[in-house]
């Protein structure tokens, strides 16, 4: 190397050293002075939202690098518990299964575990019937359709929900996800709660009924429903596109999967006492059976998982600032634009904020 090259290298190293020093000493100050990097992993449902949050957050804090690996909820929880990531994303709350809740609590010691809902996505029931502009379904009928008990669109049960609508005699083709997914898990959870007599299958991320049409991912389901007349499927509401979206009976009315209606379910739902033991853990037991006006109960709620204490002050500060941004009105708006999610309600944000504020240097 020539002398000038050497000089460049030395200067670069010096700059790096200063940067690292700054990193270690920035224990206080405004968020714009944050620097360093953290990694997260988990739910693929959160991917688009996380991308929006990361882009905006890094814009505001040029010294920060955040990565999010959408490996899936299971992988995200595993990596978080193993200490491989600073934060995780999960479509289901940490549970006692396989000792995950215990493992995560253990991982965060001497700090506490933080678990907050950060992403709410309404799951729409999409259908392909060109002549039928509007479709209403009650939970029992919906469950029977997906359980392949109702096989044609002009079935009496569907007609009863749709007075005055002319239904064709087309064969019903229920479309489900072929990959394991949080969307399926939330949808089957809904069906088993509201129509327990029809839907006797176990709640699972793997679709339990054999013989239906199956497609990979949300885009695959939407594409399959698009391709087949008479098809009906479930998909993130933001991806429904041109397809018809069914209104679902809640209480006495039929509700559409709007953002407001989806966000409302968390206000109606009690906290899951078993899983919300720590004061910073907010695991909701979604009240799928709610009859409250204007609430849409088929939603996917995905959480962010973190700790109150980290090895370095810098890491804790970034996690804190990032989570704060994610659930802020601004962050939720960015997610709604990028991922089509339903923003958290103001009252819920207020309720879970203390958990993020508890994150500190340790």
């Amino acid at each position: 190397m020539s002398p000038s090259r050497w000089l460049t290298v030395i200067v670069a190293l010096a700059v790096l050293a200063v940067g690292v020093a700054a990193c270690g000493s920035s224990s206080s100050g405004s968020s714009s002075e944050l620097s360093g990097q953290i990694a997260g992993a988990g739910s693929s449902a959160q991917q688009a939202a996380q991308e929006a949050w990361i882009a905006n957050f890094e814009n505001e804090n040029s010294g920060v690098t955040i990565s999010y690996d959408p490996v899936g909820s299971g992988g995200g929880r595993e990596q978080f518990i193993a200490g491989g990531t600073a934060y995780g994303g999960s479509d289901t709350p940490l549970s006692e299964d396989e000792g995950e809740l215990k493992g995560a609590t253990e991982r965060c010691k001497p700090g506490e575990l933080v678990e907050i809902p950060a992403y709410i996505s309404p799951i729409a029931i999409v259908y392909n019937l060109p002549e039928v502009k509007s479709l209403q379904l009650d939970p029992d009928t919906l469950a029977k359709i997906f359980n392949q008990e109702i096989t044609t669109w002009d079935d009496k049960a569907i007609a009863a929900d749709n007075p005055g609508v002319e239904l064709p005699s087309t064969r019903i083709v229920p479309v489900n996800r072929s990959d394991e997914s949080g969307t399926t898990e939330n949808f089957t959870d809904y069906l088993s709660k509201v129509a327990p007599e029809v839907w006797t299958h176990e709640v699972s991320g793997d679709w339990p009924v054999k013989g239906g049409e199956a497609a990979e991912g949300t885009s695959g389901v939407v594409e399959a429903v698009n391709a087949g007349e008479g098809a009906i499927g479930y998909a993130d509401a933001s991806q429904a596109g041109e397809l018809g979206v069914a209104k679902i009976k809640v209480g006495k009315e039929y509700v559409e999967p709007t953002a407001e209606a989806a966000a409302k379910i968390l206000e109606e739902s009690p906290e899951d006492k078993e899983l919300s033991k720590g004061k910073d853990v907010f695991a909701f037991e979604l009240d799928r059976k709610t009859e409250s006006q204007g609430t849409y109960p088929i939603v996917l709620v995905s959480s962010m998982i973190a700790c109150t204490k980290y090895g370095s002050a810098g890491e804790a500060e970034i996690v804190k600032a990032y989570l704060e941004y994610a659930i802020s009105a601004e962050g939720q708006k960015a997610a709604a634009e990028n991922a089509g999610s339903a923003p958290l309600s103001a009252s819920l944000t207020k309720k879970i904020m203390p958990a993020i504020e508890a994150i500190e240097a340790g």
Binding site: S44, V71, G72, S73, G74, G75, R77, E78, E98, R171, V173, V175, S178, D179, E180, S181, G182, G205, D206, K210, G211, G212, E213, A214, A215, E216, G220, E223, A224, A227, G228, E229, G230, A231
Partner: protein
């Protein structure tokens, strides 16, 4: 070394006396290292699969996904894998032979090169593109065909129906796999067909054979082992194909020969691609165990191909 002595007898250029040049020695060591690397890699993969599959093998059925025993879990997948690959090979081999014969014996000389190039180009298309083509183009286009099959040939178990309305069936997946393995099968056959000894072909023609009779009497027997090995190579590719099948097939985890309905058996590779992202713990071990089965199936297929080819060559 034996080969050197033989070579010395044939060509004085290749061996400069009893002492080998250092270049020869380096080359021979490098070649040996490359050969050993392959073995080590293969053994490493097999070992990884075995170790990771072990927890699933020893676990009780209740702990495994879907609460089934490992055999019950993997058997339908293995069935689907073999069915899809077999379908592809059955459709691809006659087509590939025809393509190879056309290029080697029938097509005018001017277009032979271009045609061969085009067929090889099929192999260069990424499998995910084939998958997208399958669901957006071939699937919808196959819907009326499958309806027709259901109506007119519904008595055959393969076309029992009810025909899928979206076209994401084993039939379409098999067709896409057919196109994907066509280049490899026809390339192998083409190479050997064009090496059929000229005197045999001319002899046949001189005896009054038509062109088809000449091909049947000389080219096809001469190329038979290449057809078998090409088919086996194609089978290997079809068995392991992941993305295209994952995207196209509407999987249902059942065992059926019905090729045109919406409920199809999944394949091992597609099932791993679909379930791995959201799996953890024992579910991952189960998926890897299914991968081990796929590895075994592919290995057996390849060994069988070798055996068949070796036997033909001796004759």
């Amino acid at each position: 070394m034996e080969s050197v002595e033989v070579a010395a007898g044939v060509s004085p250029l290749q061996a400069a006396g009893p002492r080998r040049r250092w270049g020869d020695r380096v080359f021979s060591k490098l070649a040996l290292a490359a050969g050993v690397t392959i073995l080590v890699l293969l053994a490493g993969v097999a070992l990884f699969l075995l170790i990771e599959a072990l927890p699933a093998v020893s676990a009780s059925p209740a702990e495994l996904p879907e609460g089934k025993s490992l055999v019950e879990y993997i058997a339908p997948l293995a069935f689907g894998t073999v069915l899809a690959a077999a379908l592809a090979v059955v459709l691809a081999v006659p087509l590939a032979i025809a393509v190879a014969l056309f290029i080697s014996h029938i097509a005018p000389r001017r277009i032979v090169l271009a045609l061969g190039f085009l067929v090889d180009l099929l192999a260069a298309i990424p499998s995910i593109v084939y998958g997208l083509w399958g669901i957006f183009v071939l699937g919808p286009a196959a819907v009326p065909v499958m309806r027709w099959l259901e109506e007119h040939l519904g008595f055959i178990p393969f076309f029992e129906g009810p025909a899928s309305v979206t076209g994401r069936t084993m039939f379409v997946a098999g067709l896409v796999l057919t196109v994907m393995i066509l280049p490899i099968v026809s390339a192998v056959a083409r190479e050997v067909f064009s090496q059929t000894p000229r005197k045999l072909q001319e002899g046949a023609l001189a005896l009054g054979a038509t062109r088809w009779e000449m091909i049947r009497m000389t080219v096809l027997p001469f190329g038979r082992s290449s057809i078998v090995s090409g088919a086996m190579l194609g089978l290997g590719r079809a068995l392991g194909e992941t993305m295209a099948v994952t995207i196209i097939l509407s999987v249902s985890g059942i065992v059926t020969f019905n090729l045109i309905s919406q409920a199809n058996p999944s394949t091992i590779a597609a099932n791993i691609a679909l379930d791995f992202p959201e799996s953890s713990g024992l579910a991952v071990n189960t998926l890897i165990a299914s991968g081990l089965v796929l590895f075994a199936i592919t290995l057996v297929t390849n060994l069988a191909a070798r055996a068949i080819v070796a036997r033909r060559n001796v004759q």
